[in-house]
């Protein structure tokens, strides 16, 4: 029987995902060191092809695509991670309360959650940002507002299943207090599905953020991958790299997070992976 870490880290898909994601995180953290110039600064002639003095060429205004990519990594990751954290915190709270206390509280909270799951989420995010006006903060708000329902459902389902397990009843019979039971007995046993769902949510958040930025609803004055594609789409015929390069960056990053998330899932629930 292998341990969790063996199952997780010896999975080739996970290794690929971790290597790429780690590089992106490193680039994002070191953005100001790697390309100290403002990514919006004009550094050369417009439409310089990749492979020249500037590795990845320039865009329609003569801005460095590499600098955009590096700083874009920071914006995209930061917004995705922050909105996921907000969604996980809020979703866990709602799900844990609904699942543990049940009854009317559960009914009200779950009807609300279902409602938020029914309405078209991306359109809702667009409407939210259109009305709140685009900014990094509002992006985080909009993405987390449309992302929390799955977390709530996962946590509630887990809490419900753990709550009905006999060890929780045994804690009640032992005389442990409600909130202590929730914190020491129930929540630790809901952690693994929460980690898996949360990690996959980061990938979804990146996709939402880049689609919003692509539509021009991104954070103004912040370079981001979606924004670069949106700005480059008019020049598709003449400057293919403006769209292709940031798109590949999004694809690989989302892919690596999905691979890691699925690796976590396989490592935490080994019965499927082993057969």
């Amino acid at each position: 029987m292998k341990t969790f870490w063996q199952r997780f880290l010896l999975n080739p898909r996970v290794i690929v995902g971790l290597v790429w994601l780690a590089s992106v995180v490193l680039v994002a953290v070191l953005a100001d060191v790697l390309t100290p110039r403002d990514p919006f600064a004009i550094v050369g002639a417009p439409f310089a092809r990749p492979g020249g003095a500037l590795w990845l060429g320039t865009d329609s205004l003569g801005r460095d695509v590499l600098a955009g990519l590096v700083h874009g990594a920071r914006t995209t990751l930061l917004i995705a991670v922050l909105s996921t954290l907000a969604a996980v915190a809020f979703g866990t709270l709602v799900g844990a309360v609904a699942g543990y206390y049940g009854g009317v509280v559960d009914d009200i909270l779950m009807r609300t959650t279902e409602f938020f799951q029914t309405i078209p989420s991306f359109l809702f995010a667009i409407v939210l940002i259109a009305i709140l006006s685009p900014s990094a903060m509002n992006l985080v708000i909009a993405i987390s507002v449309v992302s929390w329902p799955p977390i709530t459902r996962v946590v509630r389902a887990e809490v419900l299943s753990v709550k009905s397990r006999e060890f929780v009843q045994a804690a009640v019979v032992a005389g442990q207090r409600d909130h202590a039971i929730l914190v020491t007995q129930v929540l630790p046993n809901t952690l693994s599905p929460l980690i898996v769902t949360g990690s996959l949510l980061v990938a979804t958040a990146i996709l939402i953020e880049s689609a919003l930025s692509f539509l021009g609803l991104g954070a103004p004055n912040q370079m981001s991958w979606g924004f670069m594609i949106g700005a480059g789409r008019s020049f598709l015929r003449d400057a293919w790299w403006l769209v292709t390069i940031p798109g590949v960056a999004i694809l690989l990053t989302v892919l690596s997070i999905n691979l890691i998330g699925e690796g976590l899932n396989d490592a935490l629930n080994p019965r499927l992976a082993d057969l």
Binding site: L215, R233, V254
Partner: protein, 327 residues
């Protein structure tokens, strides 16, 4: 199950949709309260979109000086008679604008659902049959990649390759307007325009359904009733087709229903990439015109569409799964 029972079930499910629709309306109203400016100026397209008299008329209609709850009530009353307001940017009632743009979007959704479900289910089925062979790996890797690719980027790449490089498909629009095609020629022209947007929007869902179908097939194949069927001496192929497939399909149908809302969101992006004249493109335009009345109308209509589709999925489910109690 009798027809009468099914009828009662439909009515009950319809009643259950009322709170959702009402919720969307209230949410819309709350969003309007969040927007800068008062209700009337926001609805009239913020500054300068509408004549002063209209704004005053709106103020009067919603009772701008009244408490918020009264304003909400007035808002509800207008929606109850399908009065979604007037768009001054487009100089037309919101409702007629929406209805004009509805069918291109429905066409795109329909073709996308058809393509992603049939191909996704097919690929998932094959991957499960070929499990742990190189064919399974090819399908699974392709699905993982499609699953991670942003829609708008796929669209742009398809345009780059198939429209600009090969010139096989048009880059934008729904039909060649200067050709004045009629009858069959028009249908062919629209179908030609439909190909790339449909593929673009399908990729993600295709990957999702393929992965789900594969997992569902593998799970079902391990269940007791399959062992029973084997013990009866039924050929493996018949077991897959007759027993496993139908059971494995159920979660995919559920997922297709759940994903319809996100499909509508995806169409906003795809329609803006391909200049497809549907609701999504209208939303994109209203966004930058700050035409909130229109934007909220689209949001409302989309929510109604989702509710209707969910209802249809539930009905399909009743036909597929005898365990669903409709009585």
């Amino acid at each position: 199950m009798g027809g009468a029972a099914l009828g009662r079930y439909v009515v009950r499910r319809l009643l259950q949709t009322v709170p959702v629709v009402l919720g969307v309306v209230i949410l819309n109203f709350l969003l309007l309260q969040l927007a800068p400016g008062d209700l009337a100026t926001v609805l009239a397209g913020e500054a300068g979109g509408a004549p002063k008299e209209y704004i005053d008329q709106l103020r009067q209609r919603f009772g701008q000086d009244q408490p918020v709850l009264v304003q909400l009530f007035n808002y509800l009353r207008n929606l109850a008679v399908l009065d979604l307001g007037y768009s001054f940017r487009q100089s037309a009632p919101v409702l007629s604008l929406l209805l004009a743009r509805l069918w291109p979007t429905l066409l795109l959704m329909g073709s996308t659902l058809l393509l992603s479900l049939s191909l996704g289910v097919g690929m998932g089925l094959l991957a499960a049959l070929w499990v742990r062979t190189w064919k399974d790996h090819v399908i699974s890797v392709a699905a993982v990649i499609f699953y991670a690719t942003p829609l708008f980027w796929i669209g742009l790449m398809l345009i780059l390759v198939f429209s600009i490089h090969f010139g096989w498909f048009p880059t934008s629009g729904m039909e060649d307007v200067v050709a004045f095609n009629e009858g069959m020629a028009r249908v062919v022209d629209i179908a030609h325009h439909l190909v790339l947007p449909t593929i673009t929007l399908s990729m993600f869902y295709l990957a999702l359904y393929a992965r789900l179908m594969r997992a569902s097939m593998l799970e079902q194949r391990g269940l007791d009733y399959v062992t029973t069927a084997r013990a009866k001496g039924i050929p493996e192929r018949t077991i897959i087709v007759r027993h496993v497939f139908r059971n494995a399909l159920l979660p995919v149908v559920t997922m297709a229903g759940i994903q319809f809302g996100s499909l509508l969101g995806g169409s906003v992006v795809v329609e803006s990439v391909f200049a497809w004249p549907g609701l999504g493109q209208l939303a994109y335009q209203s966004l930058f015109a700050r035409d909130f009345n229109l934007l909220l109308g689209i949001f409302f209509l989309s929510a109604c569409l989702v509710v209707i589709v969910n209802l249809m999925v539930d009905l399909i489910y009743v036909l597929l799964d005898p365990r669903i109690r409709i009585g």
